[in-house]
Structures are given as C-alpha cells and as structure tokens.
Symmetry: C2
Subunit: 133 residues, 2 copies
C-alpha cells in the first residue's frame, strides 16, 4: 500500500474537485468529476446504488482519482490508483459532510427518496504526484 504525505492528504481534504475513473464492462475508461475526501490513508468519494461508478466498481474495483489544487491548477497534482471498497454504512452522513465542504450546506440537497448513498474507499497502490510533496 502506498502512503499519502500530509500535503497530499490535505489536497483531498480541501475544497478541490477530483476526477475518478472506473472501467466499463468492455474495459474502456469512464471518468467523472467527484467530491473527494480522505481518512488520511484511503481516498474517499461518495456515489449511489445504481450509478455507473457503483456498477463498474462492483464488477472491477480498480479505480483512479486525480486531484489538482482548485486555486492554482498549474501548481501540482496527486494521482492515486488503487482498489475500491464500497460501503453503504454512513453513506448519507458522508454525502452531507461533502455537501458542507463543497456547497456550504449542512445537508446534501439533491438526495432522492429511496436513494442509497455509498462510500467508496480507495486503498492507494500507486501514488504519482508533481509539486505536492
């Protein structure tokens, strides 16, 4: 397992968007922006049951996430590749936490009736970075 430095973890803690890539059933890359987070070791994002990312990761857990500093994208980046674990436990609380960070709202305003939120935790196997030591 590769280890994030404190500065790299801070980039995932800050109000910076990530881009996550999962693999379609034909193996092609599927990439979307996500709100990101970390517990200091794993990289976290939040999705929902039935979304493409969730379906892809249940079939093939390999995933990558890239983050750049939102206030100066030229200054560096961190790219993490690893394997995802999906958990429904705490999923709604986690999307609320992300809504607070990214929208400044206490509750995620887009939750649909019956929507099942999923925390995705990525154990870093490879970490590439530039400018973020």
């Amino acid at each position: 397992m590769a280890k994030l430095t404190e500065k790299q973890a801070d980039l995932f803690r800050g109000k910076n968007w990530g881009t996550v890539t999962t693999l379609r059933s034909d193996g092609s890359p599927h990439s979307t922006p996500v709100w990101i987070d970390t517990d200091g070791e794993k990289v976290l994002f939040n999705t929902a049951v039935g979304r493409a990312k969730e379906r892809h990761l249940r079939r093939d857990p390999r995933v990558s996430v890239v983050v750049l500093p939102a206030d100066d994208q030229q200054s560096g980046y961190v790219s993490v590749t690893g394997v995802a674990e999906l958990s429904e436990e705490g999923g709604v609380e986690h999307i609320d936490k992300l809504a607070k960070k990214y929208l400044g709202q206490d509750t995620y305003p887009y939750l649909q009736p019956g929507e099942r939120r999923i925390i995705v935790r990525i154990e870093p196997e490879k970490i590439d970075s530039m400018g973020i030591g």
Copy 2:
C-alpha cells in the same frame, strides 16, 4: 462519432485543465492532468514519445478526458471517451501553443534535447456533461 456543442468546445479551448485516462497493460486506469485543446471536433492534448500515456495509447487507443471550468468547478463538466490518434507532425508547435495558453509564454520552456512531442487527437464516441449544454 459524438459531437461537442460550441460551449463544450469552448471549455477545451479555455484555460482549463483536463484529466486524461489511459489504460495500463494490465487494464487498470492511469490518470494524469493535461493541458487540453480542441479543433472543434476532436479533443487534443500533447505528450512525448516514451511517456506512459504515449506507450499506453500505442497499445490500446481507448482514452477519456474530463474538463471542469477552472474558475467554478461546481458549475459543470464535460467528459469525453473515445479513441486516440497520435501524430508527431506539428507536435512542437502545438506544445508551444499550449504553453502560450497555460503559461503565457511563447515557447514551451520544458522541452528537452531530442524530445519528440506528440499531438493526441481523440475522436469523441461518448460525451457526458452536466451544466455545459
């Protein structure tokens, strides 16, 4: 072939960073930030002979690029999946054009002796977007 709207093309023309994903030989996703461009139909970025992206794309040309507006990442995004064509012709002029856009410099300042720059042109097969109509 999917077609970019004018607003989507403008996002690739503007000073916004992209994240490009290629596939390693084991099929896992390899993602890095890139300077991006478009000719109005294809999505372009620039790499060099010997880089991971170049080596991956020679073996498997499937690729994705995501771009968010740098000045307001919450406002939307465009995600393009397609197949890459690599060309060395005009590669140095193209990285100079990108250096002008991203660094404000007439010439790409990091070119190494003997470095062979490559234009990657992606024909969009799928375009997903939010907020960028």
